[in-house]
């Protein structure tokens, strides 16, 4: 993100134009109960080689956004408006053939549950080789060799023989590695990982996240890491976008968001998480209430019914006026910057331990 402050240890961006640029994205589903406003005016940028963590709870619109980038939504029940520019190419409204050429090639995706996301009917090798053969015009034999190479890269032992195994013959962690191999097989510039470790055990999760980081160094892909776990992005991402009820409520570098968050929802997320180092006598500080229905999201700031600080804003601004998320670092909240800082330092931070 050009406008973001960079963390010291991440490489400086190379170009001025972002590689992926999403502007005013709206995604709506028509259902029997009405129209679900799954994504509601979302904008973000991502540069080559960087990792953006999109954090939110279920129903925040984080997965829907990324299915929209790949054009994988159901076209009959979904309406999309706004701009999705990948390397200058407009993706909203692009022809299916155009998207097919990009998917798995320039942009690839890793899904949450590798057991259901891999076909049980074909060998792992075939599933990895398929996009390679399709996008590079390689022969089947070359595809197979490439699959072996990729399996080796992601740390599958004896890739020459495991390439002919079916997914059910792999363990959970190995399946996710195969999934990563499949997504990277064409050297994509954009990799979207949707909760890639949520279905995995914690020790395997650590392996996979580190592996993703290491492979990013080698392949130079930009990564969007979708997760509900702030801990996962803390280790893996450069920047964070926090989503709530289909909107981005806060963005900044990992350091900025974790060390001086600027939105009450982010405070709530941080306060809800128990930590290994926290004070056990200190009760957790959950967010009261439940996430809103996207059929009928609250007016103004969607977080206001659960927010403890609406009283400090004055009037009914929180329930009537939609707060704007500034470009670059910031939070979409009506509280003044000074007030946000003092609330965080006085109320929130001490409880985080």
């Amino acid at each position: 993100m050009t406008t973001l402050t960079k963390t010291e240890d991440s490489p400086a961006p190379t170009g001025a134009d972002p590689f992926l640029s999403v502007r005013d994205l709206y995604v709506r589903f028509s259902t029997e109960d009405g129209i679900v406003k799954a994504v509601d005016g979302l904008s973000f940028d991502l540069e080559r080689g960087r990792t953006l963590g999109i954090v939110g709870e279920s129903g925040s619109g984080k997965s829907v956004t990324n299915l929209a980038v790949l054009g994988l939504h159901n076209p009959k029940s979904t309406t999309i408006s706004g701009e999705i520019l990948l390397d200058g190419q407009e993706l909203t409204g692009a022809r299916e053939k155009t998207l097919e050429r990009l998917r798995g090639n320039k942009m690839a995706m890793i899904f949450q549950d590798p057991l259901t996301a891999l076909s049980p009917y074909y060998t792992v090798g075939r599933q990895i080789a398929e996009p390679f053969v399709k996008h590079t015009g390689a022969s089947k034999r070359e595809g197979r060799l490439r699959a072996v190479e990729m399996l080796g890269k992601v740390g599958i032992p004896q890739p020459q023989t495991r390439v002919d195994d079916y997914p059910h013959q792999f363990s959970g962690g190995m399946r996710q590695r195969a999934m990563i191999a499949m997504s990277l097989v064409c050297n994509p510039s954009l990799l979207i990982a949707d909760e890639p470790t949520t279905a995995l055990d914690v020790t395997v999760q650590a392996q996979i996240l580190d592996l993703l980081k290491d492979l990013q160094q080698e392949f130079g892909s930009a990564i969007i890491l979708i997760t509900h776990d702030l801990g996962v992005v803390a280790n893996t991402a450069d920047d964070i976008l926090v989503m709530y009820a289909g909107r981005a409520v806060e963005r900044g570098s990992v350091k900025e968001v974790l060390q001086s968050p600027r939105h009450p929802y982010t405070w709530g997320l941080l306060g809800s998480m128990p930590r290994l180092s926290g004070d056990v006598e200190q009760p957790l500080k959950p967010i009261p209430g439940t996430p809103p229905s996207l059929l009928n999201p609250p007016p103004g700031c969607p977080f206001h019914p659960r927010c403890a600080y609406t009283g400090e804003v004055g009037g009914d601004r929180c329930s009537s006026e939609r707060p704007v998320l500034p470009e670059g670092r910031g939070g979409a909240c009506h509280l003044t910057a000074e007030r946000k800082q003092s609330i965080f330092i006085e109320d929130i931070q001490p409880a985080l331990g």
Binding site: D9, G172, G173, T203, V232, K255, S272, M273, L276, P286
Partner: protein, 388 residues
Amino acid sequence: MSNDTTTATADAGTPLRDAVPGTALLEVEGLTKHFPIYGGFPVKRRVGAVQAVDGIDLAVHEGESFGLVGESGCGKSTTGRLLTRLLEPTGGRITYNGQDITHAGRKQLAPIRSEIQMIFQDPYSSLNPRQTVGSIIGGPMEINGMNPPGGREMRVRELLETVGLNPEHYNRFPHEFSGGQRQRIGVARALALEPKLIVADEPVSALDVSIQAQVVNLLQNLQRELGIAFLFIAHDLAVVRHFSQRVAVMYLGKIVEVGDRDSIYNRPRHPYTHALLSAVPEATVTAARDGEGRERIRLAGDVPSPINPPSGCRFRTRCWKAQDRCAKEEPPLIRLGGNREGHLTACHFPEEPTTAAREEDVILDPALLAAEKGTGAGSAGPVGKVDR
């Protein structure tokens, strides 16, 4: 902390069961559950067993919260189901309040069933969709013939209030509630019989983070205010730490380390405990980024199958300290020199009691090692270490 209630006699091998006479509400010795596997030809026969739980000892004291952590397949959920006797143990002994309930029949269990309650992981499937909240929570009282003063309905309304739900919702159905609220209904149902022990199997893992914290706080208040003992089963180490005074770490059907919270989280001795703790992603910047703070251990591969667990120490196939002895000799769960009372570890070659960063990270995963050393994959030996 409960280590003061334990009276381990000496520094050498003192099994937990001897360490806590009298005060234990629920005691387990050598608890084993093997699920048989059938196969073979031409006649199907027993060809093996999933050794889900293989000889564990533990004790839950009155009013304490005992945490059971481990990864999938470690047997923690099976243990919970054995303790509530939803499953029949293959071997070992379960004692509740001094009474042996290992193979107790329905009649003998009836009075105990009301004192041990269970909370399940999935708030969607563990509530009968055709029953109102009132009858879900009141049902156990009716079955057990409980007639609280003021009537059952009154009591149900009280319980709804206790768990933070609106008592007016007495006549609603589960589908009218959100996931977090359903889990509260599950908690109210468990409370209805005024249990002394609640076995909570991953009670918050299906919930969103913000809702998870609400339920953890609720359970914590109940534990403190009503003095209910908890066996808290979860894979999330941070949640268990927050909730439990004593914690046992399970791996492939065995307890590998058990102790008070501080010992397990700050002075772990078992390599697996170290690996687990180091794998927890923390939402802090310093620890992960600046190379200070916590140690970094990355194991290779997944947990092996409990059908054919490794001989000797079950963790040895993924352990960086494993030697021949680990394959031959199963390490006993004992108090090691330097461990606090009640802190028992099953390891021949225990680690230093600290979680601070090491001079070299322990990286066993060949792909990670290759990437981080800048060499080709597969060139790594069995134990790899990366210089910081």
